[in-house]
Structures are given as structure tokens and as C-alpha cells.
């Protein structure tokens, strides 16, 4: 953790919301990206990311400085999104429907932009086939490179249970992908389920 970040954290723990807003600035992207991958809609993602930071600010007293702030705040985001997903079952919204969303890549050309949108939507569609907790595990593991231990702690799971969930999630995604490609083997629902199980 950088010195500057530590100072902001200490000030925020004393109730300085301005100092915390600097941390918000710093971690807005990863938190927002996680929320978007979890919920699939930019509006829901914005709302969930904002709520995540509010919860983090309110819970700063319980924050363990031994833990990375990013890991802590992403755990809050993941759990909030799981709750949110269970409550409202959000619908997948295309990125094209929200002109305000910016992609991290620097101003691509129209062809590249179309490909990027397509790829984003494909990924979202695939993720939508997973249960909320499995989705959170997969996103945090592959996008945020959490360790098994960190992930198990963040999602309140044992390590073997987490590994089983990740395995199941990988299999489900691969099967869904094959199904989308029109592989007749995966069109047979019973076999597909047996394979995943």
C-alpha cells in the first residue's frame, strides 16, 4: 500500500469523506467493472459501485489494515452484487444501449469498437449463465487474480468448496459456449447437465 493511500485511509477512518473520495477515485474502475460483470447493466453497476463505497466508508472501523484495501472493497462489492442479483435478478443490458459507458481502450475505430462491443456482450451473456456466487468467484479469480485463500475469505466459502464452484463455473461456461456454437452434443440437455454435474 502506498504512503499516500495509507494517509487517505487514516483520514477517512477519522470520518474525512473527502479523503475517502480520493480512494473512491482510485478504485472506481475495478469496483465498477466487477459490478458490471456481476449485474450486466451499466445503471445497476453504477448504483452497486456507489453503494459499495458507501458501505466501505461506513465500515471503515472494521477494516483490517493488514489486508489490501482493494481486496477488501472488492469483497464488499462482490457480496453486495450477489445480494442484489438474488433480489432483483437483473436483465442483461447491451453496452450499446448506454452511450455513456467508456471502454478502457483509447478511442478505437468503428470496426474495432464494434468488435469490442460484441466481445463484451458475448462475455456478459456467458457470465449470465452462472449462478451469482459462482460468477463472483470466477470474475474475482480470473480478472482480479485473487488467490484461493483471499477468494474463499471474501465469499465466505471453504477452499475446497470454492475450487468445486470454480470447476463447475468453468464447465458451465464451456458447455454454454459449445451450445452457442451449435455443438449437437451440448444441445442434449441431459448430457449437458451430466457433464457439468
Amino acid at each position: 500500500m502506498q504512503q499516500e493511500e495509507r494517509e487517505w485511509l487514516a483520514a477517512a477512518q477519522r470520518g474525512d469523506s473527502l479523503a475517502f473520495s480520493r480512494l473512491v477515485d482510485m478504485y472506481a474502475k475495478p469496483v465498477y467493472n466487477l459490478c458490471y460483470r456481476m449485474l450486466g447493466s451499466p445503471q445497476d453497476a453504477e448504483d452497486a459501485a456507489q453503494e459499495t463505497f458507501l458501505r466501505a466508508f461506513r465500515s471503515l472501523g472494521r477494516y483490517d489494515p493488514q489486508r489490501k484495501f482493494a481486496t477488501w472493497v472488492l469483497s464488499i462489492a462482490a457480496n453486495h452484487c450477489i445480494d442484489q442479483y438474488r433480489r432483483v435478478r437483473p436483465q442483461f443490458v447491451s453496452l450499446e444501449e448506454t452511450a455513456e459507458i467508456e471502454l478502457q481502450e483509447a478511442r478505437p475505430g468503428p470496426e474495432q469498437a464494434a468488435l469490442t462491443h460484441e466481445s463484451q456482450e458475448e462475455v456478459q451473456r456467458l457470465l449470465a449463465s452462472l449462478p451469482a456466487r459462482d460468477r463472483a468467484a470466477l470474475i474475482l479469480y480470473y480478472w482480479y487474480e485473487y488467490s484461493y485463500a483471499e477468494l474463499a475469505k471474501a465469499l465466505s466459502l471453504s477452499e475446497p468448496a470454492l475450487k468445486a464452484r470454480l470447476h463447475r463455473a468453468r464447465r458451465t461456461l464451456a458447455a454454454t459456449w459449445q451450445q452457442n456454437l451449435g455443438n449437437p452434443l451440448f444441445a442434449r440437455r441431459s448430457l449437458y447437465e451430466k457433464t457439468i454435474g
Binding site: D25, A28, K29, Q50, V123, L126
Partner: protein, 152 residues
């Protein structure tokens, strides 16, 4: 051609899924991260202030409600207690009245006895009696004053 066994099919499917996952993992990792609209932290600050104001309002309402409830409770309990006290006092009133009447009768008797004693002796005797009492009082006061002066 011999149909593959279920075990073999499962094994092949598993291998295919593993291979598919390798491709998907690459796809996932190469997918760009999405970012929020500009001014996220400003919107957060606004939201935080709004939430704080709401919480403050909620706290104030709770304080008001709880204080109002406490006052109401106090008034209720006070009224009940005062009602009981009045009822108790109401039962004491006849006793107090009879006590007062008895005291008045006693005072009247005392006055009658004193007057009868006064009128039993002639006025000159009373003058002498009062003069002796006043002299004894003066003597005693003088003796007391001298004793105090000697001590000092």
C-alpha cells in the same frame, strides 16, 4: 460402427470442455474492463452527503419520537399516580377534618383552664409574679455574661 460407451462419451466431453475453457479464458482475459462515467467520485460524494443528511434526519426523527414517547409516558404515569394520590387524599380528608376539630376542642379547653387560673388570683399577685420572673431572668443573663467574659 460401434457406439462409444457412456464412460467414453463423458471423458471426451470433459476433454472438449477443458479445451473450450482454455479458449474462453483467453477471451475473458483479453476482454477490456469497463469504466464508469467521468465524475464517479463526485457523484459518490453527493450520494454520501445525501445519505448522511437522510440518516441525520432519521436520527432526529427517532430522537423526537423517542422523546415524545417519553414525555407521553411520563404524563401517563404521572396522571395515574396523581389520580391514585388524589384518591388516597380523598380518603384522608374526613380523618383530617375530625383531627382538626379535636385540636380546636383541645385549644378551647386549654384557653378556658388558663383563663380560669388567671381569674382565680388578684391582678396584684400577677404583677408581683411577673416582676420576680423578670428579675430572675435579668440576674441569670448577667451571671451568664460575666461567666463568658471570664472565659475570654
Amino acid at each position: 460402427m460401434k457406439k462409444p460407451s457412456a464412460r467414453m462419451t463423458r471423458k471426451m466431453t470433459g476433454m472438449l470442455l477443458d479445451q473450450t475453457w482454455q479458449e474462453l479464458e483467453l477471451k475473458f482475459r483479453s476482454t477490456a474492463a469497463v469504466t464508469p462515467r467521468a465524475g464517479f467520485s463526485i457523484r459518490w460524494q453527493e450520494r454520501q452527503q445525501l445519505t448522511e443528511r437522510r440518516q441525520q434526519l432519521l436520527r432526529n426523527n427517532w430522537v423526537l419520537a423517542s422523546h415524545g414517547f417519553a414525555v407521553l409516558l411520563f404524563l401517563m404515569v404521572g396522571t395515574i399516580l396523581a389520580g391514585n394520590l388524589l384518591a388516597q387524599q380523598a380518603s384522608l380528608l374526613p380523618d383530617m377534618a375530625s383531627g382538626l376539630l379535636a385540636f380546636a376542642a383541645f385549644a378551647r379547653t386549654l384557653l378556658n383552664v388558663t383563663l380560669s387560673i388567671i381569674f382565680e388570683f388578684p391582678l396584684g399577685t400577677w404583677v408581683w409574679f411577673l416582676a420576680i420572673c423578670a428579675s430572675l431572668m435579668t440576674l441569670w443573663t448577667d451571671l451568664f455574661r460575666n461567666a463568658s467574659l471570664e472565659k475570654e
